[in-house]
């Protein structure tokens, strides 16, 4: 396993997790996880369902008790009751399973949570922020799962916490809800909040995270900025061309490794794929070869994920 460049070690670290182990009976749900999250950054825990992401997050917020290892959030130890009491007002949490009383309406829930935190209720403002304006009098039972998730986000944000924990925040959300949530996370990141998010959506992790930690079977198998992960593990970019009479010349050979499948030529290159593509097209034109198909594939985070874990993120039969 490699780790990308360590984040600025002088930056204050909002969360420090060291050697975290959580055992359920015979199973190590978390089998030794270590990471640190600098203040003001978004840290994404990416992995399959059951990889140990939620358990790790639960240990950070005092819901789960580590079997071994230590956790510090804002310098506080969530396993100590006194520290946990001091921590609670400073963190906001969106849990995976939305858990709100069915007969409560949006306004009442936001008012109750405002009372929990000793702040004035900002029900209308918070509802609008998560795209629930005009639903203040709607009961939970009449809201879709995605709407409940967005309300859960509003509850996590209302008291303006320093650190946010979002556990699979967009699981089961429609495209609209996802856009709203992503926009809100980006806004919070720009506002200097520290955010830990677990997800099994690669696109989500890539878009929102400053650093991504890939978790597999209770362990971290890679940790770096999304771009670094792709650069290290994504593999070569490929340029594919099908054109009558095309054959790479010496200059093109120098760009990378060429393979031929039927009429299709494929170049795997470490260089800038855009330049390689231009060179290939220029050469085909010079040869007078008529291009039937042309394709450029840049390595993605998904490629990196597969290379690192040896499996796709969605469980397939």
């Amino acid at each position: 396993m490699i780790r990308g460049d360590a984040p600025n070690s002088f930056a204050q670290r909002a969360i420090v997790v060291e050697g975290l182990v959580k055992r359920y009976g015979e199973l190590d749900a978390v089998a030794g996880i270590t990471f640190a999250v600098p203040c003001g950054t978004v840290f994404g825990l990416l992995g399959r369902n059951g990889a140990g992401k939620t358990t790790t997050l639960e240990c950070c917020i005092g819901i789960g008790r580590p079997t071994a290892g230590s956790v510090r959030v804002l310098g506080l130890d969530p396993t100590k009751p006194r520290d946990l009491s001091a921590l609670r007002p400073r963190i906001g949490v969106q849990l995976q399973a939305t858990s709100l009383p069915e007969k409560a309406n949006v306004r009442e829930i936001l008012e109750l949570y405002a009372a929990y935190y000793g702040i004035a209720s900002r029900a209308a403002e918070m509802a609008a922020r998560v795209g629930l304006d005009g639903t203040l009098d709607r009961q939970i039972a009449q809201m879709s799962g995605g709407e409940q998730q967005r309300l859960a986000l509003a509850l996590a944000l209302q008291h303006d916490p320093e650190v946010l924990f979002l556990d699979e925040p967009t699981a089961g959300m429609d495209a609209f809800g996802r856009r709203i949530l992503w926009g809100e996370v980006e806004r919070l990141r720009d506002g200097g909040k520290t955010i830990v998010l677990t997800t099994h959506y690669i696109e989500e992790a890539e878009r929102l995270s400053d650093r991504i930690c890939i978790v597999q079977r209770g362990r971290i198998v890679a940790e770096a900025a999304p771009g670094e992960l792709v650069a290290h593990y994504g593999g070569d970019a490929t340029v594919s061309i099908t054109a009558d009479g095309f054959a790479p010349d010496a200059a093109l050979q120098a760009l990378g490794v060429w393979t031929r499948t039927g009429a299709q030529w494929k170049l795997a290159t470490r260089g800038e794929p855009g330049l390689a593509l231009a060179a290939v097209v220029t050469h085909a034109n010079a040869l007078g070869a008529k291009i039937a198909s042309l394709d450029l594939h840049r390595p993605t985070l998904e490629d990196a994920f597969i290379a690192i874990t040896g499996e796709t993120i969605e469980e397939t039969g």
Binding site: I61, G64, L95, S99, K103, A104, E111, Y116
Partner: protein
């Protein structure tokens, strides 16, 4: 101030969410006990003026206190845990005692409403008069509620699922209501049996409440039983606090 507001908003929320907007709950809480009173009054007696209604009004109120603790608090807590409501509350700054106090006050308010309705129906339909000292009646009612809420919380703490909490509550509530002088006088059992049944906290509470309310007995006569109820309450609270799980 902050805690008081937290407590008041939570208590109001309990009332609105779990009672006022829940028709089934309102029916079970307000209508069923009256139905029992009317049914049993006619089933067990020869006429509206016989002693059975006088026995039943405090008995049914007492049975409501039991089920309030076992169902209203015990099963409710297990449901809250299963639906992950408890873990959501746990990560807020609300102190656990505020949460439990709001639950207890909410149940007490419902019990007060139930008692008022039963006493009114008892007075108007069955001529049952409450002659005891109001302070003494309130005191024994509060103590009984505390006892059965604390015992009910043990169910909420130990039951893994709503279903098992439901089963435990049914196994306890239904027989206890019949074996604790609530619906039928346990004097009808052989002496050895009724003496044994008088060891139950439910019997001690219901008998004390009945004697104080409809027979006007002074609370001081029941010192030993009151002490027992206090001990049950302490035991229930300690066990609950030790075993309660938020997740």
């Amino acid at each position: 101030m902050r805690l008081l507001r937290m407590f008041l908003v939570q208590t109001k929320a309990n009332f609105v969410w779990y009672f006022r907007r829940d028709g089934e709950m309102m029916f079970w809480t307000l209508a069923m006990p009256v139905f029992f009173l009317v049914l049993f009054s006619f089933a067990f007696s020869s006429g509206p003026n016989s002693g059975s209604s006088r026995f039943l009004v405090p008995g049914i109120i007492g049975a409501q206190v039991l089920s309030s603790g076992f169902w209203g608090v015990g099963v409710m807590l297990a449901t809250f845990r299963e639906k992950h409501l408890l873990r959501r509350i746990y990560i807020t700054p609300m102190p656990p005692w505020v949460f439990f106090a709001s639950l207890v006050v909410y149940r007490m308010a419902l019990l007060a409403a139930q008692a008022t309705i039963l006493i009114t129906v008892g007075a108007l339909v069955f001529h049952v008069r409450i002659i005891g000292n109001p302070g003494a009646i309130l005191a024994i009612l509060l103590l009984g509620t505390a006892t059965f809420v604390s015992l009910g919380t043990i169910i909420g703490a130990l039951a893994r699922t709503t279903e098992s909490a439901n089963n435990i509550a049914s196994i306890l509530t239904v027989p206890l209501a019949f074996l604790s002088d609530a619906y039928v006088p346990i004097d009808r059992f052989p002496h050895a049996v009724s003496s044994a049944l008088r060891m139950l906290p439910s019997t001690q509470f219901i008998d004390t409440f009945r004697d104080v309310s409809v027979y006007g007995a002074p609370l001081a006569h029941y010192g030993v039983w009151i002490l027992m109820l206090v001990l049950w309450t302490i035991a229930g609270t300690v066990i609950s606090a030790r075993t309660f799980r938020w997740v």
